[in-house]
Symmetry: C2
Subunit: 165 residues, 2 copies
């Protein structure tokens, strides 16, 4: 991270861009660290990561958004679906040699299969005897409200953040 | 976070600077998220936070460093000492109206009093009957190695990160 000059230029500052990797923009304000958890990134991996939390946004209704940039990382579909759950409509760009090679808006899938845990310890999906993929129905997107297909437990975003990632 | 222009200008990008708050620079590469934990910042507080992880550094022997900037936050001495433990010699600047009003290098204190927990559950500092402040002696700074004054347990950085913050 390099300052533009030594005169403490007001308001703006340079940081490195990602040469190859992924930019996740328009994350709900305050949820960037949850996105890092989903990607299992702690910093010790050695990858360049830049994070903006509660940065100004002209398009968000809250006037704030988060943004995460990660070098040498391409998201898989499971991670994209997990991010969609906690921050629907955020924008993902895959970057190659500083250019955007793919850009899309994430979307909550109709059925949530195998990407979050059921917080009900007694749910069959949490019993070790046989492996069962979790399945949830979407009852509401914002705020997020889902129902376990097996035990019918209703689960909200905060509980998912605490127990799944 | 605003791109300089729409032509995907190479390598650099603008982000907002902190108007009032704290910049913690030259954090050991990979430890920025631990600093956020020490400051008890998750993003939901609404404060502008920018984080760079594994950014290029000309002065660090590993050629990488982390940096954290937090709006409207001034560190207290306990937090400064905690940050010194996990990242000795990092540089803290307090910012007022975009100018640096105070700048200093953190330093591990000779005695570690009341800023980390002893991981030994049976240590008197973890027994509820009477409140006792933890005390540790420094045996090594990099890598960090400390000894509990009460139970003599030797504790390393990773264990401190797991149990104290």
């Amino acid at each position: 991270m390099v300052e533009i000059n030594n005169n403490h230029m007001k308001e703006k500052l340079y940081i490195e861009k990602i040469q190859n990797g992924t930019v996740i923009d328009h994350i709900h304000a305050g949820f960037a660290l949850s996105v890092l958890k989903i990607l299992r990134l702690e910093g010790k991996e050695g990858k360049l990561i830049t994070v903006g939390i509660n940065v100004k946004s002209n398009t968000s209704s809250s006037k704030k958004k988060d943004i995460v940039k990660v070098e040498n990382t391409i998201l898989d579909q499971k991670q994209i679906n997990q991010i969609a759950l906690i921050s629907p409509k955020c924008k993902v760009s895959f970057i190659k040699n500083y250019d955007i090679v793919k850009k899309f808006v994430v979307k909550i899938p109709n059925m949530i299969v195998g990407i979050i845990k059921c917080p009900n310890e007694k749910c069959i999906t949490n019993v070790d005897r046989e492996p069962v993929l979790t399945e949830f129905k979407i009852l509401g997107e914002e705020p997020l409200k889902v129902a376990c297909d097996y035990c019918e437990r209703i689960v909200y975003k905060n509980e998912i953040l605490r127990t799944s990632f």
